[in-house]
Symmetry: C2
Subunit: 335 residues, 2 copies
């Protein structure tokens, strides 16, 4: 064990973004190697997760979670291996998942670390399809949308870490699934690779018309990741008694709040619109992850990753994620 000879590297928040995030809002620093205390483990991270929710954490606006303060380590999940253990629960060499933040090494309390099974599924999957995004997809779809076979399910950001799971799960339930994504390449992917029935490119100049053409019988379930004018249009296409899981409004991060003029549809169509945050019910995670694990291991649930190389690439990759430049779950490979 020579970890104490090394230095750790971390990315901290240098300044709050105004409007779009830029790589200059972050800074890579060196710090001392963390030393695990009693009941802690020392983790060497292999992959960091980059996720849209992080944009909220570096904002001043009221949100559902603690802000990252200027000078603080950026928050986030990671997978890695235990390289030193002062916990009876973990052995050196264990593959683990933990919210370490953006750094190479982390000392974590054992009860905040999850052992992961990488025998059938690769470790980075636990940041996406088997991690927060996949569980988000499951909860919003199963607990709020509750789709029935034959119903029409729409999801935007359809090729992303959450949307791709939503659509595939809905297909397994026997639904008609229409995705919305940015660009023809992503649309082709969700139809040809993931098996969605259709996908509409929201960058098209005839987006609203193309969307309506794909939804001749309306929408029963909407999994909403984007917000803004796309959501405003989707509201008008909902069927009576439709259900909407409001998971994200990423389009509102960098501009004043959108003005929604189509709320009357909620009354007229007796819709249920429900916001949710996946971390509100952590008790439910193990069972959901187990279900997803089986689907991935048996190739019934496909996923795709955008891999940035090296800790220093994380800020640029994060900016790209917010602009929709990633294609699939965005991770940063550290080793």
């Amino acid at each position: 064990m020579n970890s104490d000879l090394k230095k750790n590297q971390q990315i901290i928040l240098l300044s709050r973004p105004t409007g779009w995030v830029t790589p200059e809002n972050f800074k890579l620093i060196e710090s001392d190697m963390p030393a695990p205390a009693e009941n802690q483990v020392l983790i060497r991270n292999h992959y960091l997760s980059l996720d849209p929710y992080m944009r909220g954490r570096i904002s001043d606006a009221k949100s559902y979670a603690q802000h990252v303060n200027i000078g603080d380590l950026m928050v986030g999940g990671a997978v890695g291996e235990v390289i030193e253990s002062r916990s009876s629960t973990f052995n050196v060499g264990d593959s683990v998942l933990a919210a370490t933040g953006w750094q190479l090494f982390a000392a974590m309390n054992a009860d905040q670390v999850t052992k992961i099974d990488t025998s059938r599924v690769r470790a980075s999957a636990y940041l996406g399809v088997l991690g927060m995004p996949g569980i988000t997809a499951w909860r919003g779809l199963m607990e709020i949308c509750e789709p029935k076979a034959g119903e029409t399910v729409v999801v935007d950001a359809a090729s992303g870490a959450v949307g791709s799971v939503v659509g595939q799960l809905a297909k397994h339930l026997g639904c008609h699934v229409v995705g919305i994504a940015g660009g023809q390449e992503k649309c082709r992917y969700v139809v040809q690779e993931l098996g969605f029935d259709a996908c509409v490119d929201h960058r098209s100049s005839h987006f609203a018309d193309e969307l309506k053409a794909q939804l001749p019988t309306g929408i029963d379930c909407l999994f909403e990741n984007v917000g803004g004018s796309i959501f405003e249009t989707l509201l008008t296409l909902m069927n009576p008694f439709g259900r909407i899981a409001l998971c994200g409004m990423v389009s509102e991060f960098n501009q004043p709040p959108h003005a929604y003029r189509t709320l009357r549809s909620i009354l007229v169509n007796r819709l249920k619109l429900q916001g949710f945050i996946v971390s509100d019910k952590m008790d439910a995670w193990p069972a959901i992850r187990s279900n997803l694990h089986e689907l991935v291991a048996t190739e019934k649930l496909k996923f795709r990753e955008s891999v940035a190389m090296g800790l220093s690439s994380a800020p640029t990759a994060f900016v790209g994620l917010l602009k929709g430049e990633n294609f699939g779950k965005q991770v940063v490979k550290l080793t």
Copy 2:
């Protein structure tokens, strides 16, 4: 029985309103006395009900119910007595409730007529607190808001037929209840007569500040009747995991759709916002009406009526209702 010697009187829709409804959109006509067919009863109406939902029925906009066509009888509920019966279920003299529309006499199928018990509660109550408005209040509060003792419940149009029941039921459940109403007189009524904890006058020039002052711990349950800028403000005051029953958006009838800029609160606070229409679950009505009847008969649920006199006054009274000029449930006394 000399009813066949009389003429019936009806109010029909003469033209669709553009913007505010006016009395000139309606016309009083004489017509032949209806003759009940087999399994029908002939009803002499005593009270007509006037309700905000009727504004939607005379509009061209897509809604949850059939439109009234030009020249058609205006729709609506009424209470009256059976004056001729060709049904084994009803006897002459029975007090009944039925959707007869705006007319003095109506021949109705027996299975569309409800016998009412007027021994402890007066007949007109079946148009308000024991009718569609009261059952609307019950369903939205109990099935969507599901308030718990100690939670804060807000209802707008608080002195109206629906709002007054919402607030009183919430008080019986042990909630802190804040009403919103138009004018000091209505506010005094809901606090002093109905027992709300507070009421804010939305006509005040400091409405938003006064509202916030009454809600230091936020809103857990919102029963929304009005929509527009009031609803937009209320959304920002919701507590995490709050529930909103969207019952009406009466403020949107006479103007372009409101642009809501505060939807992010639904995500951040994990709110449930659900639209509903009371007539979607008619099976539930008898049990709910029975609960309400007991509360009214034992004076645990108070109500107030605005009574317009004579069928010809219905159009003017309806316009007043849409402008908030009524005070309590608006009915039209016919006999």
